[in-house]
């Protein structure tokens, strides 16, 4: 059972463009939604996170948009750079259980 659905599976964007990664969840009990960034050969690292009482959160060039009624949330990367090329995972959490999506491989062209 896939509790967090993430799309697209891969994404190629020109430098300066705005890649958008989307996630949808099923369990309305989830109350915390983080995004993680993973570089090859490394473990994922927390990038940004949001709670369902907020519709948007910005940290630097990274923005999460959250639609509680649609049970969807998305990551936007402003002014994307080649260094942003990585795999991005959305996740959803309730209590101590943290479920991840399948990931999006993002490549930013120079």
């Amino acid at each position: 059972q896939q509790q967090v659905k993430q799309s697209p599976q891969s994404l190629i964007v020109q430098k300066g463009g705005i890649p958008i990664i989307n996630c949808a969840y099923e369990n309305t009990a989830f109350d915390y939604f983080p995004w993680y960034q993973q570089f090859p050969g490394k473990g994922p690292a927390l990038l940004i996170a949001i709670r369902p009482d907020v519709s948007e959160k910005k940290e630097g060039r990274f923005t999460i948009s959250f639609n509680k009624s649609a049970k969807q949330f998305s990551l936007h990367i402003m002014d994307s750079q080649p260094g942003d090329s990585a795999t991005y995972f959305c996740a959803a959490s309730k209590d101590d259980k943290i479920i991840f999506g399948k990931g999006t491989r993002l490549h930013i062209l120079p």
């Binding site: 915390y32 473990g43 994922p44 927390l46 101590d96 991840f100």
Partner: protein, 111 residues
Amino acid sequence: SQTIHQWPATLVQPVGSPLSLECTVEGTSNPNLYWYRQAAGRGLQLLFYSVGIGQISSEVPQNLSASRPQDRQFILSSKKLLLSDSGFYLCAWSVLREKLFFGSGTQLSVL
């Protein structure tokens, strides 16, 4: 500062052999501990998590097990490995669920 140690970095095992992967955390007390598996096209799959010594929640695996013999030690085991057990295994810890800290992972190849 807190650190997480996970070993070995790579492992090649024959089908039917046992498995033991160990993860230890330093610099914190009573962390939540997690085992995830990363396989191509399947993202990060939660296998087990633990909120305290001897407390293990199992999410998916049939032939894998986990144990937490000490506060900051988490062990992933199997009595007989299957081909489908191949993947990148990641241990992680958190004090609050707001931030997971991942280890460097173990690349397991079952042949």
